[in-house]
Symmetry: C2
Subunit: 257 residues, 2 copies
């Protein structure tokens, strides 16, 4: 390992990460020979190999197995000052094609992808229509029944705002703050899919998947929009809808202000 | 096997077929234990199993290994009159998710998917931008260099019309008619892809892939739009551009009038 000009001088590189999460065990590094099964594990191995030094890649948050990202954000502290275009090319060439980085930039040393994130956008993609598209079978949940979008939008209004989202989370009680703010939920219908877009200051474990499962049950007429109020009131996971599969979920954008 | 009301009475069913061709050896049936490696082979096995009778599935034309379809058309003669909604569901449930059929309808007995096709639409999808999208790595060719679309559109004008397309084909001289008409070539730029859409009365073996390879070389400045005229004049494959990969190609629509 080379010694920098000034001892301990490090550079903090922020990057955006896109990935098709289909064949991975989620974002978070796993040990025991599973280094190549997670996005974080692969990025760390790949950057460490290029720089010939151990690095830690800090993500804005974990994504579950099968979940995708257009704009995950991560940062990494390195000891050499590099040309970032070249560094990006090197990383992308050594990454599997399912993971690619873009928009590398130097940021202040104290920047932290997770602590400094102020809000996040997620999207959940649902294939609709008589036949399931062969092209998105690992990137959409397919729902054959007609969905009542008006009812879903009504429920989305109840969800927006600042609430204790414990009832919409699989988190164990661990003292973490379960009060979150959802700024907006948009439900958009395209030709062969429905996209539910969530913008909030933070999301609890499994929260977007449970919100989506609950909205789908409302769209299918299996529960009312007002049942949202009961879930808030009870604060208990068992009153909410089921946790839909990770494969339809995309981390779209992380905001830092 | 049941005997129909009138001996030899058959019903002709037309269907549209969508497929993600990534893991298949193309449309055309292969023997020798490779029945499950082609779209036609899988469809025939699947329909034969449902009906408990041997069937032949006639496609509008072959697609190569790795090539996809939104609207391939096929027809099959069967000896039982079935509820086609139910039949479609049975077929789709037994097909792998990469292949799905839709729009089943009874047509005249003499209808033939290949002979009766009057024109076809193909699309070739090209990923662009600094980073290759992880989501379409098996459904797009990725080209990093900037493409000059004006030059490509100029060349497309030369290609449209009725010509002998021998120079744009891998076909051996087998007496088939090599004169085809291209009605329109559209070159559309979206955020992270370029789509080249072809509409013609028929296409020779590898023709869309060679046309696309030639247009890309023009867009990259490696040949001029006027080189199209030379290829027509020489009528020789070696003057055209390279055959691009099958993975970016989609059979979009087959027209019967």
């Amino acid at each position: 390992m080379k010694t920098g000009k000034s001892r301990n001088k490090t550079y903090n590189v922020k990057m955006s990460v896109m990935y098709d999460g289909s064949r991975f065990q989620g974002w978070q590094r796993l040990g025991n020979g599973k280094e190549n099964e997670t996005i974080q594990g692969i990025l760390e191995r790949c950057i460490s190999d290029i720089l010939e030094e151990e690095v830690m890649v800090i993500g804005s948050g974990r994504t579950d197995a099968g979940v995708h990202a257009y704009g995950q954000v991560a940062n990494v502290h390195i000891t050499k000052e590099l040309d970032l275009n070249e560094f990006q090319n090197q990383i992308n060439q050594s990454l599997p094609k399912e993971i690619q980085v873009y928009g590398l930039e130097y940021v202040a040393n104290q920047f932290h992808s997770r602590y400094d994130a102020t809000s996040k956008y997620y999207e959940y993609h649902i294939g609709i229509g008589e036949v399931e598209s062969p092209f998105y079978r690992k990137q959409r949940l397919y729902v054959r029944e007609e969905l009542n979008l008006d009812l879903m939008r009504k429920a989305a209004e109840y969800l927006c705002g600042t609430h204790d989202f414990t009832g919409f989370s699989s988190t164990m009680k661990d003292g973490r703050n379960t009060v979150k703010t959802i700024y907006e939920i948009e439900i958009m219908k395209e030709k062969d899919q429905i996209i539910i877009s969530y913008h909030g200051d933070g999301f609890l474990y499994n929260m977007v998947r449970i919100l989506t499962g609950t909205l789908l049950e409302i769209g299918q007429g299996d529960r009312t929009p007002e049942s949202i109020l009961t879930i808030f009131e009870k604060g208990d996971r068992q009153y909410a809808g089921k946790t839909v599969e990770g494969k339809g979920l995309f981390l779209k954008k992380v905001v830092y202000i």
